[in-house]
Amino acid sequence: MTVVRRPPARSEANRNRDWDALMAAAQRGDAAAYRRLLSEVAVWLRPYYSRRLPPAMIDDVIQDTLVAIHEKRHTYDPSRPFGAWLAAIARYKWIDALRSLENCPKEILDDHIAVPCHEEAITSAWSLEQLLSTLKPAQSQAIRLVKLQGFSIDEASKATGQSATLVKVNIHRGLKRLAAMLRSETDTD
């Protein structure tokens, strides 16, 4: 089995070194470096929070984290890695966001959720199936495809191997027979 080494690990190290330098420059007042750093950090934060928070919260938490980085930038020690400093703040803001979820209004669901009654639909489907089963297979298949599943005559013809005319004839005869059966049952009742 071939083990593929991750080439991005190196670029990650490079990126961390870049961030260290950018943050150190930002602390010295380099506005361009600071802008670049924040935009790169915002990109890094998105997947970080996507894995940990509901999608609706991600933008707000990224914003909170960027504001916190800005407000607490004086606590960054340039001799230490910026990545660890950023990760600590991101984690803190994540925990803060999770705690804020507790205060969100919650809707309590009943144990028994009301759903519409399907009895009539099930009875109809069962009755139709019983009626179709009394027809010849070719007739019931043609009715099923064209009248119930919405196939065209040509499509039903291809699906069943019957000619288009035969499909029409089978539908006509099948429906006629069903009608006769229903009439006779009504007369009996």
Partner: protein, 183 residues
């Protein structure tokens, strides 16, 4: 710095105990002074270091707890070696004890406020732990300053009333500071 100013003002107002030369010869006086000073310094350092988001105060807090246990052990040894303080109830001197408690709490207010301000400006990511360390530091510093005025050197008295005062301050700091220093 604020603590040193507080100590200076406290002594400048002539609040030092009158029998200080005698007290300097008592082991229990030095026990109070050194223990509280050490606890204040260590917990203060822990609180300040943990204002950096990547530093956790938890390990430092464990060391503070070890220091407290050691201090109490030394106090118990001093108490056991003396042995002629009388019954526990008499040794409590509860009226004076309550006064001590209130004074220590009052002396802890400036360091709590100062450390709270530092917490607000810093970026602690374990606010509960940092607040606890700040509470220990402020309480121990308040008690340390009060050692210069307190005429009681009985280890049992010190244990009960100083512990009560320090617990009060620490609990207050543990509850209030995390809320005030949210960032």
């Amino acid at each position: 710095m604020l603590g040193i100013v507080e100590l200076g003002l406290f002594l400048a107002f002539g609040l030092m105990r009158p029998d200080m030369p005698m007290a300097l010869h008592l082991p229990s006086f030095w026990w109070k002074l050194v223990s509280l000073g050490l606890i204040a310094l260590v917990s203060g350092a822990v609180a300040i270091l943990s204002l950096n988001p990547i530093r956790s105060p938890r390990v430092g807090l464990r060391w503070v707890l070890v220091l407290m246990v050691l201090s109490l052990t030394v106090g118990w040894m001093i108490d056991a070696s003396h042995g002629d303080y009388g019954t526990l109830l008499v040794r409590l001197h509860w009226r004076d004890g309550l006064r001590c408690l209130c004074t220590i709490v009052a002396l802890s207010v400036p360091p709590v406020a100062g450390l709270g301000l530092l917490m607000r400006r810093g970026a602690p990511t374990d606010r509960g732990g940092t607040a606890m360390a700040a509470g220990f530091a402020a309480a121990a510093w308040g008690a340390f300053v009060f050692v210069f005025a307190c005429p009681f050197d009985d280890p049992f008295y010190v244990f009960v009333w100083y512990s009560l005062a320090c617990t009060t301050v620490t609990v207050f700091a543990g509850i209030a500071l995390p809320r005030l220093t949210r960032w």
